[in-house]
Subunit: 79 residues, 2 copies
């Protein structure tokens, strides 16, 4: 599992836990639905700014999101 | 303080705590020294992939870095 895939899975879990559609989450964040979809599918690596915005809408903290990602993808490839 | 500025300050603190130059940190991460400089000056918002790579070289966890950023920049502007 890549880091992006792990992030996408965490995002999807948190979104569903809040009972939000991709469209609703996107709207609340100021993003288009398709951007949420790209993130959930692990196509795009989010910036920390995006993580902070998502965390606020999902009523969690950015560090809590990243901690969940760590548990799914403990290592990352060196560039 | 913007989120990017907060991240830059945290990165600089962690780098200096490890006694690393920007050049050395960049080398260990596979980044150019000037990219580290851009991050530390808050010019660039890193992706989570970058945070994971930096955390490994700085011998901390990505979530610990993000937690420090939260304490410096508790809110973030909606896009």
């Amino acid at each position: 599992m890549t880091l992006e895939t792990a992030f996408g899975a965490v995002l999807r879990e948190l979104r569903l836990r809040r009972g939000l559609s991709q469209e609703k989450l996107g709207f609340e964040c100021g993003y288009h639905r398709t951007y949420i979809s790209l993130l959930e599918r692990g196509v795009h690596s989010p910036t920390i700014n995006t993580v902070f915005i998502l965390a606020r809408v999902l009523r969690t903290t950015p560090s809590a999101i990243i901690k969940k990602v760590e548990s799914k993808a403990p290592t990352v490839e060196r560039r």
